[in-house]
């Protein structure tokens, strides 16, 4: 794999993470538990989609062909999507959405901190811009982890249930493959293994305060970064891509 190929895949992974997570959060639009949180979630969704646009535009530049951000978002099949499995997991309930968001937000924050030192100027600039938004995402999801974890018996139970299920999707965030190795060597990419300890420390301290328990299992789901997804991604893409694929080139 050349450095160029690795970089393209790397950028698409970052783009797909936030694009799919943004879509998931957007599904809450009109369905939030209260109006204020409905708006909070769609706000975060828009932040994510804005970040995805930056990455897709950069991907097009790397490929050097006349592709738009829409082509990447709307004209790729599940096997060509490289997002982490955790971001495509369904919303289920508010607790589930919060736990998914919190796990990813803390990772995302630590990741962007490192990426802002990347030798690739464009990636560093995107990271620097995104980190302000993600700082707020961390605060938002972190506050809800506290409130619901240390809330009522029902909210605690729902949070713990969500943690137990989503936990197996967290390991993939710290797995390195050939793409990561090549770009780490070039000082473009981030050392994911190095992030794990810090992530674990933040999450476990926060969970302790929220009276929640981290599962002990270390087994992890994986494959999303290589294009092997859970059944959910197909449904997301069907939803997302229906219009541009049925009416190609339509605009409004």
């Amino acid at each position: 794999m050349t450095k160029q190929e690795a970089l393209l895949k790397y950028v698409l992974r970052l783009a797909d993470n936030v694009s799919i997570l943004g879509h998931r959060l957007g599904e809450w639009c009109g369905h939030g538990p209260v109006l204020e949180q409905d708006i909070a979630m769609t706000n975060i969704a828009l932040d994510c989609i804005g970040q995805a646009r930056n990455y897709y535009q950069y991907a097009s530049k790397i490929e050097g062909i006349d592709k738009t951000e829409d082509d990447y978002a709307y004209l790729r099949d599940p096997l060509d999507y490289y997002n982490l499995l955790i971001v495509e997991q369904p919303n289920k309930d508010f607790a589930y959405t919060i736990v998914r968001q919190y796990f990813f937000d803390v990772f995302h924050f630590l990741f962007l901190q490192k990426l802002s030192d990347s030798k690739d100027k464009q990636l560093a600039a995107i990271a620097e811009k995104a980190i302000k938004e993600v700082t707020y995402h961390c605060k938002w999801s972190g506050d809800w982890v506290l409130r619901l974890g240390d809330g009522t018996d029902t909210s605690h139970e729902k949070m713990q249930h969500a943690i137990d299920i989503l936990w197996t999707y967290t390991g993939e965030m710290f797995l390195m493959d050939e793409v990561d190795e090549i770009l780490l060597k070039e000082k473009i990419g981030v050392d994911l293994i190095g992030l794990r300890q810090e992530w674990l420390k933040i999450v476990s301290e926060h969970f302790k305060e929220a009276t929640l328990t981290l599962p002990e299992t270390t087994w992890s789901q994986k494959g999303g970064k290589q294009g092997y997804h859970s059944e959910h991604l197909g449904y997301i893409l069907a939803d997302m891509q229906y219009l541009p694929r049925t009416y190609p080139g339509s605009i409004w």
């Binding site: 538990p33 209260v34 109006l35 204020e36 949180q37 708006i39 909070a40 706000n43 506050d143 409130r147």
Partner: protein
């Protein structure tokens, strides 16, 4: 969540201006009220500072007192600084 109290939100749009009432929202506590206000009222770059106060702490004038309270100000032009020449630099008089 139905028992969340109502909060009044005040936003300052620029350094040097006053906080102005923007609206109200529901939240469980002050911190959540500020975050909600950030999401509901400052998405389009409207503010640099937020105040929230629980609506129950707002005391309002009585609509029945409107006449006694406000009408006497109507016919006293000398209460307005319209008889002075204002320097042009003064913007907010």
């Amino acid at each position: 969540m139905k028992n969340w109290p109502l909060w009044e939100v005040f936003i300052r749009s620029k350094q040097g201006l006053n906080h102005i009432h923007a609206g109200s929202l529901h939240a469980a506590d002050a911190e959540m009220a500020i975050e909600n206000a950030r999401d509901v009222y400052t998405r389009r770059n409207e503010g640099i500072s937020i105040w929230v106060v629980e609506s129950k702490y707002i005391h309002a004038s009585n609509p029945e007192d409107q006449g006694a309270f406000f009408d006497p100000a109507n016919n006293k032009v000398y209460r307005h600084p319209t008889f002075y020449e204002l320097p042009e630099q003064l913007k907010h008089m």
